[in-house]
């Protein structure tokens, strides 16, 4: 007990002396490992109509895999806002297991600044793409998606996972 009390006191003093302001950065690439399990809660945070369409499409695509999605706050948190950057969407792992690299919590952000004028189909493609990252998927290119039907492409806007994407997610979970 005494050792714990001393430790707590030392920790508080250390924080008071050495603490610096917290900072956060925004990249423009996916930074998400595979999910830590096949049951993924998705929490939508005051989304626009486009953001809601994106989440619905992304969940529908994840549900085609071995992942089952539901509404809840324990896994994937989705936001949309006007971010001062050129990216359309961003996915990041906010709680990664150091050993296996799997993600327990992920943040998905849709940028209304760059997506605002786009139609629902584009939002659906973006939702498929970003929630695909939460399933552990990386980007695809024409060389590995010659029929151009994977939403994990960056330069075109398909709205669905292809069979390769589905197989890849199922390998992770």
């Amino acid at each position: 007990m005494r050792r714990t009390a001393i430790a707590v006191a030392a920790a508080i003093l250390l924080v008071a002396v050495a603490a610096s302001p917290a900072s956060a950065g925004h990249g423009n690439k996916a930074n998400a490992g595979p999910p830590d399990n096949a049951q993924q809660d998705v929490q939508s945070n005051s989304l626009t109509t486009g953001g809601k369409a994106a989440v619905a499409q992304g969940r529908a695509q994840l549900d085609r895999t071995d992942i089952t999605t539901s509404v809840g706050g324990s896994d994937i948190h989705v936001y949309d806002a006007s971010y001062t950057s050129s990216w359309y969407g961003q996915t990041s792992c906010t709680d990664r297991n150091w050993l296996n690299g799997k993600c327990d919590h992920l943040d998905v952000k849709f940028n209304t600044r760059t997506m605002g004028s786009k139609s629902t189909g584009y939002w659906q493609s973006l939702g498929c793409h970003e929630l695909g990252h939460t399933g552990g998927l990386g980007h695809r290119s024409h060389s590995s998606d010659s029929n151009d039907n994977s939403c994990m492409r960056e330069e075109i806007w398909p709205k669905y996972f292809d069979t390769h994407d589905i197989d890849a997610v199922n390998q992770y979970v």
């Binding site: 001393i6 930074n31 050993l99």
Partner: protein
Amino acid sequence: MGATAAVLAAVGGWLLWPEDLPTQWPDKASFCANASAFEVTRQDQISGEQRLAAARAMEKASPQALRDEMHVLVDDLVPESEPHSHVSAEEFQEITVKVGEFVERACGVNLPSIRT
């Protein structure tokens, strides 16, 4: 100010060190070198095979008091097709935190989602 913080960090680290784990052991250099593969900035580059190889090397070089925990971690990375044991999700989480905190304190390696 900087010197005060360093002293407090050292004192705090000693006070929080698990009493059953050593601060020095013969294979510490190997253990820490392999642990560095899991450093936060290297997480996107390391493959599953590399994770398993590094964890196996860490198990061999770990302090005796940490061998059981390291074996659980290695088994988590072993492919499903190979023989391995399972523990509950809660137990796995406790062990990754215990080993992770030990790695950060003993080796000075910054691991994701571990706070020391």
